[in-house]
Symmetry: C2
Subunit: 115 residues, 2 copies
């Protein structure tokens, strides 16, 4: 993720994985450590283009990771460490999540010009 | 948006508009009022399937709205009230945003079973 919270994605087409989740509230330190490790590990995977992630005070979070291709997404899905952390997420950290895989077709970036 | 923060989307395919934004911090009351009005107005549009929205303490937010078709997205983009609010958003509320339009191809919903 870029410092400002925006992923530096190329011109479409590319793929997005939209992960919406509700935290259980349990094990905040274990969760934070694993989340940070997964972001770092994802960034090393082939075809990873960036990530944007926000969690609100109510425990609902949206993380969108961007990928070059569906094959890159599948490889990350089946990555051994990622699969192990997912199992821990279902056991300890989440009460619900939805994962949606989508093909980005158009993108518009608007930035305030300094006066 | 459902009470729990998850959109009740149908089986794919459908479309997602991923809106990632950085709030300026200015005019919090005007922003909150307009954001609520836009969510309500969007929900009345043809083809609107739901919305998920989170903003973090640092002012970065991700809102994902789900739509039946690209035409429904374009109609909402050109809606008069929506266009007017977008202009106000660029003037007052945001320092940057990225809008990405994507076709959702697969979705997985996981829910913790009560013991």
């Amino acid at each position: 993720m870029s410092a400002e919270g925006f992923a530096r994605t190329p011109e479409p087409p590319y793929y997005a994985v939209i992960f919406t989740s509700q935290r259980s509230g349990a094990d905040p330190e274990g969760y934070a450590e694993a989340a940070e490790a997964m972001v770092a590990l994802a960034a090393q995977q082939p075809g990873h283009l960036g990530v944007e992630s926000v969690r609100g005070a109510d425990g609902v979070g949206i993380t969108v990771s961007y990928w070059r291709s569906e094959n890159d997404i599948l490889a990350w899905k089946h990555h051994v460490e990622h699969a192990a952390i997912r199992a821990r997420g279902r056991r300890d950290w989440y009460t619900r999540y939805i994962t949606r895989v989508a093909k980005v077709e158009r993108a518009y970036d608007w930035l305030l010009k300094s006066p």
